[in-house]
Amino acid sequence: MRESQIMFLQYLTGILVLVFGSFHFLLISVLSPSPEKILYIYNGANATHVLVGGTLYYTWVKAVYSSLIWGSVFELLLTFLVYHVFNGFRVILSELIPGGRAEKIITYALLVVALVVFIWGSRTVVVSLAGGL
C-alpha cells in the first residue's frame, strides 16, 4: 500500500475510534445494564471498594459481553484501535530507527504484537458471545 492509503486509514480509524469509543464510554455510564450507573462505590467508614452496585460489577460486565450488539461494537472498536495504535507505533518507531532492515523488523514485529492483541481481545468477545469458557 502507498503510505497515503495507510495513513488515510489511520485518520479514518481515528474517527471511528472516537465514534465507537463514545459508545464505550456511554456503556459504562448511562447505558449500563447496572441499576446504579456509577463506577466506584466506596464504603464510607473504612473506604473499602464495594463492587456490587457499580457498572463494573461482574454481572453487568458479563451481561454486556453476552449481548450481540455490544459484542460487535467491541469487536469493531478493537479492530479500529489495533490498526490505529499499531500503525501509530510503527510511525513513531520508524522515525526513531529509520530505514534499512531495522525498519522492516520493527514493522513485522509490531504486526505480530498487533495480531496477538487483536486475537486476545477478540477471544474475549467471541468466547463471551458463545457463552463463556
Partner: protein
C-alpha cells in the same frame, strides 16, 4: 570528520521556543503512546471476564487500590483526559493534516507570521479546547460521583 549534531527524539518533547502546534504535537505523541500502552493493558484486563467472578473482582480491586489507596478514579480520570485530548486533537489533525480549513497560498509579508499556524487552525484549537475541557469535566465528575450533568 564532521560530527553528528542530531537533536534526537528528545526534541519531540521539547516544544519550547516554538509555537502551540509544536506543543500539541508533543502532547499528541505522548498521549498516543500512553493510550496505546493502555489499550494493551485494557485488552488484558477485560479478557479476565472469562476467568470467573473471583478473578474479576480481585482485579477490579487491585487496579483500584495499587499503592495503598484508592487511586482508581484518579487513574481513570487521567486516562480519560489523555484520551479526550488525543481524540479531539486527532480530529483537528485529521482536518488540517489533510489540507482542510487552512489558508490558500498567500503572499508572505514581513514579519512573516505563518498563516497556516493561525486563522482557522487556531479557531479549531480554541473550539476543540473548550470541548476538551467540557468533556473532561463531565467525565471526571462522573467518575468520581456517578453524576452525569
Amino acid at each position: 570528520m564532521t560530527i553528528e549534531n542530531k537533536k534526537g527524539w528528545i526534541s519531540w518533547f521539547n516544544p519550547f521556543k516554538y509555537g502551540t502546534d509544536r506543543w500539541m504535537f508533543a502532547l499528541h505523541r505522548l498521549t498516543g503512546i500512553a493510550l496505546g500502552l493502555y489499550l494493551i493493558a485494557h485488552v488484558w484486563e477485560t479478557s479476565n471476564i472469562l476467568n470467573g467472578q473471583v478473578t474479576w473482582d480481585k482485579i477490579m480491586v487491585d487496579l483500584d487500590y495499587p499503592f495503598g489507596a484508592h487511586y482508581g478514579p484518579f487513574i481513570l480520570s487521567l486516562i480519560l483526559i489523555v484520551a479526550v485530548y488525543h481524540a479531539l486533537n486527532g480530529i483537528r489533525l485529521t482536518i488540517v493534516e489533510n489540507g482542510l480549513m487552512l489558508p490558500k497560498p498567500y503572499r508572505p509579508e514581513f514579519p512573516y507570521k505563518a498563516k497556516s499556524l493561525r486563522g482557522l487552525n487556531n479557531l479549531l484549537k480554541i473550539v476543540l479546547g473548550i470541548f476538551m475541557i467540557l468533556i473532561s469535566a463531565i467525565g471526571v465528575i462522573f467518575i468520581f460521583t456517578g453524576v452525569i450533568v
